[in-house]
Amino acid sequence: MSRIVKVEDLHRTYILGKVEVPALRGLSFEVTKGEFVSITGPSGCGKSTLMHLIGCLDHPDSGTVYLDDINVSKLNDNQLAEIRNKKIGFVFQTFNLLPRLSAIENVELPLIYGFFTPRQMKEKSMAVLEKVGLAHRAEHRPPEMSGGERQRVAIARALVVEPSIILADEPTGNLDSKSSEEIMAIFQGLNNEGATIIMVTHEHDIANCTKRNINLKDGQVLADQPVKQVCLPADRS
């Protein structure tokens, strides 16, 4: 199995005022293609920091991050932006859609920073919207949609660039249990089709929907073990 993510001895310390707050203290693991990993742990354990580092939004103080065997810790801002654009699909807790744009415009957004014709952009975006079952809502704007629908648009936006990995940061944190299940069903479906997913969560139910769990504490790996996956019905009506 090919390796998608490899992190090696990651250190990251924040300075809040005059106090140094170590967020990651020598963290290492690997993720191979097709895995569905949940990262859990108490608040302040470094989950978000880890996601930012894997997501190429931040630089580690020391240690290395490999994405598709590229050492991204050595890249400059422009190169990181390009990696984010081509290899990473982000899904956020707060959806982070642009409220002024329609669903399909939101999905097209990452493609704007690549090289696609308007026609290609439309076709790709429509295809992924269909995949998350929202083709009929393409022209609606986020404020006109439910939380679950918004998160599905966000997933479509992550998928549209055909990323190497999907990084989801508490994707169900702002959703009711029914919507959460829908979203998790979509992630499971994508994973079954071969997508690699890393998901930060603090809910056990959610972590149980994944295939492997990495438990963090104080910026270090406390446990890394396979999960007996609870499969959800792929109901996308």
Binding site: L57, D77, F90, N96, R100, L109, I112
Partner: protein
């Protein structure tokens, strides 16, 4: 991100807050509007002046000798020029083709019970006819014999003749000018108004007769025409030499057509400079307004910038996005300013009946300036947006 995508994106953002965008543009609109309308009015005025000078019929070889220094009003001059000065100029200035001494006064002209006060009763010579490209419609113009013989004869403008004689023939009738009887020998052709003076109320009598009836031999001016445009400067020098010799000092000035044009151009440039100053202040204020709004826009969209960066926008993409927006706002303000400026100027020109001259260069410059203001005022906010840290920006509430 392509250029076109940046423009459509910026356009959508501007159109989402139409009122705010319009208010932001207002400074630029006012600045560009004032320059364009005044420059267009000025150009039209200049065109009108040229047209009038052309109508005057004298052409670029024409000049006038006045008493007094450069820039002094002719009427204020105490220097006395006489017929013998004019004669000397005519004899001793080889570069001149025609010389016309003029003894001009206002006076009362009477026929039976009708009288009319004319501001310009002009004692002149036969040369006037050739100089002014005019002509008589009936009878004849003054002759050398009339001048030499100090004959009391008069040529009248059409409007004046109608006022005095109604529909009856004027030639052969006698009118009184300041009490002296003059024989009407001719009527001028219709000429219309030039620079606000109705040429059809012109009264021409022999310059010698004017001396008698006005009781002064002081000339108001001496008109002259050089043999060619190239000889104008030489003719001016010749006139000055002759007059300096006769008066013992240089106490006259020669106003050439070129001079008049130059004076007009000076007035125009001064006007343009003032307007440009006002416009510059307005554009500065407008630019600060745009910068202010762009800073607000950046603050409002910190989260959006974070999202855009997370999904692959480079610093340059964010910079271009905000810069495009400020340039479009400013440029749109410029376009509105230009069209309303030209619109107002055209309206005024049509009302007062002057020719409309729209300066292509002024429009091009205004467009350039508007773009420049957009770039300058957008750079700082756009750079701030581009420099935002994606992690911080995504956390921003």
């Amino acid at each position: 991100m392509t250029f076109w995508e940046a423009i459509t994106m910026a356009w959508k953002d501007i159109m989402r807050a139409k009122m705010r965008s319009f208010l932001t543009m207002l400074g630029v609109i006012i600045g560009i509007f004032s320059v364009i309308s005044l420059v267009t009015l000025g150009e039209g005025m200049k065109g009108f002046m040229y047209e009038q000078i052309d109508k005057f019929g004298t052409g670029p070889t024409y000049m006038e000798v006045h008493g007094g220094k450069e820039g002094q009003l002719a009427a204020m001059a105490t220097v006395k020029m006489t017929l013998s000065d004019a004669k000397a100029i005519e004899d001793r200035c080889p570069s001149l083709e025609l010389v016309d001494p003029r003894n001009i006064q206002s006076g009362k002209i009477t026929y039976l019970d009708k009288s009319y006060t004319s501001p310009f009763i002009s004692g002149c010579s036969p040369a006037l006819m050739e100089m002014m490209n005019w002509g008589v419609s009936q009878g004849r113009f003054l002759s050398d014999v009339d001048v030499l013989g100090r004959k009391k004869v008069v040529v009248l403008g059409q409007d004046l003749a109608r006022k005095l004689f109604g529909g009856f023939p004027a030639i052969g009738e006698k009118v009184r000018i300041n009490g002296s009887k003059f024989l009407v020998i001719g009527l001028f052709k219709k000429k219309g108004s030039i620079m606000g003076v109705n040429m059809d109320e012109y009264v021409a009598i022999p310059v010698t007769a004017a001396e008698d009836v006005f009781d002064t031999d002081k000339l108001a001016e001496i008109g002259a025409v050089a043999r060619s445009i190239e000889l104008v400067p030489q003719a001016v020098a010749e006139i000055k030499t002759v007059m300096a010799e006769r008066h013992g000092k240089e106490d006259i000035r020669v106003d050439t057509m070129e001079n008049s044009m130059a004076i007009m151009d000076t007035i125009m440039s001064a006007l343009t400079a003032i307007v440009t100053g006002i416009a510059a202040i307005s554009l500065l204020v407008g630019g600060i307004g745009i910068m202010n709004i762009m800073l607000v826009a950046v603050n409002e969209r910190v989260r959006e910038i974070g999202v855009r960066k997370a999904i692959g926008a480079k610093k340059r993409d964010i910079l271009v996005q905000f810069l495009t927006e400020s340039v479009i706002i400013s440029l749109l303000g410029g376009v509105i300013g230009i069209s309303s400026g030209v619109g107002l100027a055209s309206f005024i020109m049509v009302i007062i009946g002057m020719p409309l001259v729209v300066s292509f260069w002024a429009i091009l410059l205004a467009t350039f300036v508007a773009t420049f203001v957009g770039v300058v005022s957008g750079v700082y906010p756009a750079m701030r947006a581009a420099a935002l840290d994606p992690v911080e920006a995504l956390r921003y509430e």
